[in-house]
């Protein structure tokens, strides 16, 4: 990054200054004015409102119809703010947040890429935003056509025969996939009992298996970070319903034995589930459907750039091979000529696992994802994977030596370091993460995957520039230096945000999970 504004970045500062005073960070972070802001329940004044509603008209007294015990005049505790007070409230607290629009967000496994603004305009077209899910099909042909197109497009991109758009997020997709697997086995007489899951897997994998009534068997990955066919062979038996594999896995490593592993599992009647959270690495380069996966969920909020909005919404469509197609959840979009409709009646799809959520899926996310895919086209999709992988490897090459690389296997879209090299200084992964904030970067994912002690999992994504990566690399190096020279400064981080490190132990020990009148947290 150029530095023409007269600020002195940390490295030029030398060792002077207070222990926690970083100066301007290598990502440009400085301090500016911000505002303390109470909870909405803690300000405002009796009788204020931020809306303008018509009078009800007529003379309809609820008490004439509804039993008095079920009625209330107003909801105690509700805030009373003017529109301006409400607008200021959310404007002020918003800037306490870091978003992709603010700066680099290399949260590993989360694929925090740029969320196109054009998608927001498209998703807000009244035709989309105002369509009722239970309106007659003639009134919603556009939505249905869009869903149909997205299903086909996703199937081609990952190499599956059919796709359901229902699931609301990645974990929900996992659940759907495992339900289809269970239904498949049940249809063959035995639902089976177990699911194999490598030790690098995300927590949602075993949780989804358990929710589906399966016991989980954890498989150790090899010293290269990969799952090896022998490990699978050893665990595989006729009680195993499926194996769940993330590819590339959460170390950013391609499971290069995937085809052989799939053979081992298939040979004993099992199925192969793909956790598609890391699918960004493969777009246009390789297709899970071509390497032995029978089913995989897409995370539209990762790979296809729908906004994550501080926790969700997501969208977790699931692609399946033909063997699983009969079990797809409802609804299924079908069309006759130009006319589209939803199949929702289980009678028409007797083997379906049923409904997974109210209505038809997170339609708003479908609009955004398809818009991105349509803008990228085949070349753009491939470039996405290529540049995502290039970015991760560039960071890796630059930081090797400064941070320990627990697995030196080839990386795809992300790279995992740990804090072993900083051990002697007392500085931990947590400290490095917090100090990155003072430089102006969102920290990587930390302490995951669990196989790496003190993991720093960095996923830059393809939408970040070389200059941004260079800034991040310098900051990571500067922190490693600082850890040697002045570990306390690192441990005192972050110093720039509106809040210093928060007491998470206290939060869990004395849970305060909602406002109550007069509440004090001090």
């Amino acid at each position: 990054m150029a530095n023409p504004t007269g600020w002195k970045p940390a490295v030029e500062r030398g060792a002077g200054g207070a222990a926690d005073d970083l100066g301007v960070g290598l990502g440009g972070a400085t301090r500016g004015i911000a505002y303390e802001e109470p909870l909405v329940f803690e300000h405002g004044s009796r009788g204020r409102t931020g809306v303008s509603l018509p009078p009800p008209g007529g003379d309809f007294d609820p008490a004439r119809e509804i039993p008095g015990a079920l009625l209330r005049a107003e909801v105690d505790g509700m805030p009373e703010l003017s529109e301006l007070e409400a607008v200021r409230h959310f404007t002020r607290i918003s800037v306490w947040n870091h978003g992709i629009d603010t700066g680099f967000y290399p949260l590993g496994s989360c694929t925090m890429k740029y969320n196109p603004k054009s998608s927001e305009a498209l998703a807000r077209l009244p035709g989309f935003a105002g369509a009722h899910p239970l309106a007659a099909p003639e009134l919603v042909q556009g939505s249905l056509e869009l869903m149909w197109r997205l299903e086909r497009t996703l199937s081609e991109i990952a190499g599956f025969e059919a796709t359901t758009l229902s699931p609301a997020a990645g974990a929900h997709g996992e659940l759907a996939g495992l339900m289809m697997i269970r239904a498949y086995h049940e249809a063959r007489g035995n639902p089976r009992k177990k699911v194999l899951i490598p030790d690098t897997a995300h927590g949602t994998n075993p949780a989804s298996a358990a929710l589906n009534g399966y016991a989980t068997v954890q498989l150790a990955s090899g010293p290269d970070g990969r799952l090896h066919p022998e490990a699978v062979r050893a665990a595989m038996d006729e009680d195993v319903a499926a194996i769940m594999i993330t590819n590339p896995n959460t170390l950013g490593v391609f499971e290069s034995h995937i085809a052989e592993i799939a053979e081992v599992v298939h040979a004993r009647g099992g199925l192969v589930y793909g956790d598609g959270a890391n699918f960004n690495a493969l777009l246009g380069v390789a297709r899970p459907g071509d390497m032995g996966f029978d089913v995989m969920q897409y995370n539209l909020h990762k790979t296809f750039a729908t906004p994550h909005g501080g926790g969700g919404p997501g969208s977790g469509p699931v692609g399946v091979k033909a063997v699983l197609a009969p079990f797809l959840p409802l609804p299924v979009v079908v069309h006759e000529g130009e006319h589209f409709r939803l199949v929702t009646d289980p009678k028409d799809r007797p083997q379906s696992i049923g409904k997974l959520r109210e209505f038809w899926g997170n339609f708003g996310m479908f609009v955004r994802a398809l818009a991105l895919i349509r803008e990228l086209g085949p070349e753009g999709l491939r470039a996405t994977a290529q540049l995502a992988v290039l970015n991760a490897n560039y960071v890796r090459a630059a930081l090797e030596g400064t941070y320990n690389l627990p697995y030196d296997t080839d990386s795809l879209h992300e790279v995992v370091f740990d804090d072993k090299a900083q051990k002697a200084t007392g500085v931990t992964t947590m400290d490095v993460a917090k100090r990155l904030i003072d430089h102006g970067f969102h920290p990587p994912t930390i302490y995951f995957p669990l196989v790496v002690h003190g993991a720093l999992m960095i996923e830059p994504t393809e939408t970040e520039s070389k200059e941004m990566l260079d800034g991040f690399i310098s900051a990571m190096k500067a922190i490693a230096e600082e850890a040697k020279r002045d570990p306390e400064a690192v441990k005192a981080a972050p110093t720039k945000p509106v809040r210093a490190r928060l007491d998470e132990v206290r939060a869990a020990r004395k849970p305060v999970l909602r406002w109550t009148p007069g509440m004090k947290v001090e």
Partner: protein, 445 residues
Amino acid sequence: MRYHPHTPDDVRTMLDAVGAKSLDDLFRSIPEKLRLGRPLDVPPALDEIALFAEFRRLAARNETAHPPFVGAGAYAHHVPPAVDQLLLRGEFFTAYTPYQPEISQGTLQALFEWQTFVCLLTGMEVSNASMYDGATATAEAALMATRITGRKKVAVSAAVHPEYRKVLATYVRATHEGIDVVPFAADGRTDLAALARAVDGDTAAVIVGYPNFLGVVEDLPAIAAVARKAGALTVSVTAEPVAFGLLQGPGALGADVAVGSMQSFGNPVGFGGPAPGFFATRDANVRQMPGRVCGATVDKQGRRGFVLTLSTREQHIRREKATSNICTNSGLCALAATMHLTLLGKKGLSELARLNFARARMLREAMKRAGFGLAFSGPTFNEQAFAVGDAGGVVARLARRGVAAGVPLERWFPDDPRTRGALLCAATELHSPEMIDLFAQSVRG
């Protein structure tokens, strides 16, 4: 490519730094035979102008000029424009789950506010940070009830939203003993006698709608009494939370869990998703709750701040022993609801609920004038089923005029003669008295 900042020079320099000869080289860990040897067979890239043309064409294939008279789990309300303008602030919009609390206080404080709103509306003590939707929240409530009671059966009212019931069935199929569906009475309320018969010592939860799918307000205290006697949890399901501006919160009426959707606040109907599911319960159950929870704490300098907490319930810590597999939820939709609720405030919510109530009464009167009575006699909020005869025909006829008229109840209750010819219609503040009159006349034909 406007989203890819890499110039050819950048790519070259970076490849050199990495020690790779080409971009393809970076993928050498993928065995040759697993690579895709051709371009993807997806349509060629569109420029932004063509993209807009294409999506405008699709959007124009939907007819949405008239506010729908369908509710049935998705309610069209007027959302003040302030909500969307604030929601689009990149700091909120483009953040992930707040794993780094020091730079996520905006999201976290808003979640804390959401949790409080959910508690205030439902009369519950504790809420999580949102669920996928109302249906999965309902299913998760059943699972929680099983964890708490150790029982493997649930009783669900037939008047719970049928799509929610389907989801519940899907969720519990692998792990539960079964679902007892309890019929509703002629007034549209759950048949209390049948409920008492269905509930026993194996019942983990009794699940009822409030208001229920027929638009009818259940006698929640009586239902909760039946459940409590059997040691089962009462789960109250609300798809139209504007009702909470008029109705007591289920927590005040004996329910143990309140779930549903807050879509009505801040979120468009949007063809059914995304929308913020909510999940609230009593303090005692907090460690069995699914999903993320935000809590207050202090920072190193003693200032109040917020963090995600109680994560030992969750999949990333507990894996297969977690209370749920949920990770991503509906945070942004919850934020939209929080903003809308903040704008409404005490007065606005109360007024909005009464306005919806009044418009539904106007619809009832207009339908009466047009010759159509109510299908059920129980008390209602803003949604009612009318006996219109050929409900499917009415829907088709009004669709030709671009109006979403309601849903024929037969679709979900084919074997129940009481639903024959019944059209379920919602009226909200978006339906002016004139629209309501015109609608009733059009139903007549």
